[in-house]
Symmetry: C2
Subunit: 431 residues, 2 copies
């Protein structure tokens, strides 16, 4: 078979992921021939800046600054887009599809927002578009959902899909650091960007959740309808209380499909039972936990970012596309959603919740607050009063499952009590 013509790849963008992809494809070219049945070679790489220092060296004849030297090259079969962001990536990808190239991308924002249009264009042009590297770095969650668990009825996804926030939370938890200090450390180590908003406010995680939900549930999810809370408001004292109660604090991306096919989607900090398989996922690692009717629970774990791990995921997609091209089987795995998912408003979502209050340290406080919870039919699972300095006390509660709006109403009434000074924390509980 290896006397077949090589499959030729063009890479758009030569940053963290692009260099990893190039390394993986070139260093393992012999075993890739064996696994595809023909060579897979990088023919051209486009980047606007070839002066930047990189870990890999590339022959000069591969370099170009013009993406269209790849998109318009009739010899190139597969275009790997590793630029990121919406534009010009989106235009390049659509033009590559129109030119009959299969496309591989690690661009979560583009797939989350425009995956539907991109996949429709791919189907119309009989090419593949694949995006394993867009979610969870090397974690093979996209292929698992599309090709391994695809016979099952998946109803829940919970993911640690942002390594930056997971690293910050791990450090806050291990060292008792404030958020700002842990963020600064993460920035120094290159785990967080100078403007960390996308990561710490859960925007990146929401993009990934939109992609995972659409694949797992077969309905498109509008990323702007995903409820989001970031980690910048988290306080080390709540992480410490959580530990004492048997929980860790994680930023989770959660999607649940109800029996009527409506979908809950939310990204926020969670108190997660230390016994949950996701609880031990620390530092820059990612993991996605899936529940389905037949599979019960499945979890995939690995590095959520980084040049070689993400490059390896993108290279896996390149090989898959190369195999489809060899067999003339592009479009083998249809990505067809049955319309837009109806998103459950967050006020109607239920969960267990941790609440911390600062109250005056005087008789009758616990009774007054409990009475309000009771009158709203909110049931208390666990309560702990602590930290008395003679004047004020911390009361931490964990409530049995209750609705978001229901709890908001109760907390407003409690906040109005003269004995309550503040309600500094309200964090959902899972596992």
């Amino acid at each position: 078979m290896s006397n077949l013509q090589p499959i030729r790849v063009g890479i758009l963008g030569f940053g963290v992921v692009g260099t990893g992809l190039y390394q993986v494809l070139t260093e393992n070219s012999d075993s890739i021939i064996q696994r595809v049945g023909r060579p897979v070679t990088v023919k051209r790489i486009a980047d606007v800046d070839w002066d930047r220092s990189r870990d890999v060296t590339v022959p000069d004849e591969l370099k170009t600054t013009d993406a269209y030297e790849i998109i318009n090259d009739p010899e190139i079969n597969i275009v790997a887009e590793t630029i990121g962001g919406l534009e010009p990536a989106m235009k390049f990808v659509m033009d590559a599809i129109a030119a009959g190239k299969s496309v591989v991308t690690s661009n979560k924002e583009m797939i989350a927002r425009h995956g539907h249009d991109i996949l429709a264009a791919a189907a119309a042009n009989s090419v593949d578009v694949q995006f394993e590297g867009a979610v969870g770095g090397v974690v093979p969650i996209i292929r698992t959902l599309k090709e391994s668990l695809d016979a099952d009825h998946i109803y829940e996804i919970m993911g640690i899909v942002n390594g930056t926030t997971n690293y910050i939370l791990t450090e806050m938890s291990r060292e008792g650091l404030d958020f700002q200090v842990a963020l600064g450390q993460a920035q120094q180590l290159g785990y967080a960007e100078a403007d960390p908003t996308d990561d710490v406010e859960g925007i990146d995680a929401a993009n990934k959740l939109a992609i995972l939900s659409a694949i797992a549930f077969g309905r498109r999810v509008d990323v702007d309808q995903i409820y989001r809370e970031g980690i910048s408001q988290l306080l080390p004292e709540d992480i410490a209380y959580a530990h004492r109660m048997g929980y860790v604090v994680k930023l989770l991306a959660i999607a649940r499909r109800r029996d009527d096919d409506s979908v809950e989607t939310h990204v926020h900090p969670v108190l997660l039972s230390q016994k949950h398989p996701l609880a031990s996922v620390s530092g820059p690692f990612n993991a996605i936990f899936v529940r389905g009717r037949a599979c019960d629970e499945v979890m995939l774990y690995g590095r959520g970012a980084g040049s070689l791990p993400t490059g390896s995921a993108v290279a896996g997609d390149v090989i898959d596309s190369a195999r489809n091209l060899t067999k003339n089987a592009a479009g083998r795995v249809p990505c067809v959603c049955a319309g837009q998912a109806e998103i459950v408003p967050m006020g109607e979502v239920s969960s267990r919740v941790y609440v911390r209050m600062k109250v005056k340290d005087q008789p009758g406080v616990m009774g007054a607050i409990s009475t309000i919870f009771g009158s709203q039919s909110i049931s208390i699972a666990c309560v702990m009063q602590e930290d008395t300095d003679g004047q004020t006390a911390d009361i931490v509660w964990i409530m049995h499952e209750c609705g978001e709006d229901q709890l908001t109403g109760a907390l407003a009434a409690i906040q109005a009590l003269p004995i309550v000074e503040a309600i500094p924390a309200r964090i959902r509980v899972e596992g």
Copy 2:
């Protein structure tokens, strides 16, 4: 697309996995149409015993006792073999391939021993043979190795791939039970068979390791060359010592590829650091931990057995084969091994090791033993003396990495010392 003819499936064997497969394919038939582009229907099921009580009911017209009503049915495209064991499964599978059917199987023993012949026959007949359900139940490790991490250079696999032994070890560890008591409980709960040899002696795990190594490293592994120790000799006191030293005890299937492409393969109990991602995999769950040059570490976790979980894995393969048939792309993923792996003799394998000795409680003991270790260039990582009843003491050692033969020699010399009563435990250490 859904006006295409349905893909028709025949199921051979209607036991635990076969019933799960039937349930998954029938209950999710609507979403499967969407994911394949055409219906996938079960046309016929062969089993020798239709009187046995089962959780599912099947229309009478699907039932047959003759496997060849499936194998010879020109309308059937995919044969799912869920009988298990070598014969008659092997003959049925080879005949189905010869009849031009794609084959899906959950039969680890058959694939471990005859995978090479089966895949060669499949290639010659331009059909697919897939076997996700053969390893790890629902854990999608086969597809991940073949199709997601296939661009990488994988050099290590460590797996908890036998749910029976993992359940027994979890109970021994949680309740301090003897092996025989924990085995009896597992048998009562249906987690262990009446004759538990295959599971508790590591035979089942070795079959699975042979399959995983061949796929990950691209070289065939002779299952009879895999070094095996089971769990029946494990004592609760060693599990207790392990806990105190920060370890759990697991039966691990381990394969490592050296730089010269020779392969270490061994199945045995291991003291695994409690911090290792595999350490929290308990009860009937399986997990496979993979290390590669680019991916760093990846772990997949899920139920290792059971009707619906394994049925779901087999159904995923059925869908994959159905997609390949739809696109006329059978053989899309070549499974070609570059010959037989050279297996490193176990005596030349190195690891850290835990050793427990019963010694006379008198001065000079520690010195005499340490001197022998030192003379064999074996270096001590940690030592703990305990359990003195005035007459004898337990000494537990953890040795730095040392060769198997090297340690065997040292322990023989130590055993010969009059002060040493017994060496009841020698367990390798990982993580």
